[in-house]
């Protein structure tokens, strides 16, 4: 799971330039039920990143 969290398919490294910020474009994989999505705050499992006390800024 931890590895999946870091890996994003389809991220085009060849177009990346210095001094620019990039956030990978989300690719659809799966979704929660509407009830669960409304409760958790996202429809997408890969975007569900709940707060876990640990190093600051890690989520």
């Amino acid at each position: 799971m931890e590895e999946e969290k870091q890996y994003v398919s389809g991220f085009e490294m060849d177009r990346v330039r210095l001094a620019h910020a990039y956030i990978p474009y989300q690719q659809y994989t799966d979704h929660y039920t509407p009830a669960r999505a409304l409760k958790q705050g996202t429809l997408y499992p890969e975007l569900y990143m709940p707060y876990q006390p640990g190093p600051r800024g890690y989520y």
Binding site: P24, G41, T42, L47, Y51
Partner: protein
């Protein structure tokens, strides 16, 4: 124009009233990284955004942040509603009571009034979107500090939902940034 629905986007429950905590969580009502700042920032930036996806994202998220402003306002008020002045005077909420009674007021946890100086709006869309990415991170971090200081599971539940929305907003602004690079690459190529 806007349409208003008389329901909260997410429930705002408190197990037990707590004026001290009200005076802290109020920072997400009217503080530098709060929901009012987020909403007005995005809705102000929208007009000069050169791509429709950018305009739509700012409008959508700016609208949602206003719904979050309403959730936090509900939380703050529930934490102090009906508590007598002689109890409030011994809490962190006392200065707020002196100036506003129990009415909500957009201020930060120190009592500083909300100011548009918290936000920026640039014609340069890359500059604006990166301000927005930063805003989402700062809001996420603030929710984590606030969660750290609460032992009320109902409040933690609401703040966790709002925090997760900031994670999603960050992703959406990141996608707009990518589309802006595409737009600029095309502009370079075709003039």
């Amino acid at each position: 124009m806007w349409e208003y629905k008389k329901i909260l986007e997410y429930p705002a429950n408190v197990r037990r009233q707590d004026p001290d905590y009200a005076s802290l969580v109020v920072t997400q009502f009217g503080g530098p990284d709060g929901e009012l700042a987020a909403s007005l920032r995005y809705i102000s930036q929208m007009y000069t955004m050169p791509i429709p996806e950018g305009k739509a994202t700012l409008n959508n998220i700016g609208t949602e942040e206003l719904a979050h402003f309403e959730i936090i306002g509900t939380l703050v008020y529930k934490l102090v509603e009906g508590i007598p002045a002689d109890v409030l005077k011994n809490t962190r909420f006392a200065p707020h009571y002196a100036q506003h009674g129990r009415a909500n007021y957009p201020a930060d946890a120190f009592g500083n009034a909300w100011t548009a100086s918290y936000i920026q709006s640039h014609e340069d869309p890359v500059a604006s979107i990166q301000e927005d990415l930063a805003a989402e991170q700062k809001a996420r971090a603030t929710y984590e500090y606030l969660i750290d200081m609460s032992d009320d599971p109902a409040i933690i539940d609401t703040l966790s939902f709002l925090r997760e929305r900031e994670v999603v907003h960050f992703q959406r602004f990141g996608e707009v940034l990518d589309l802006l690079y595409d737009y600029m690459d095309d502009y370079e190529e075709w003039g």
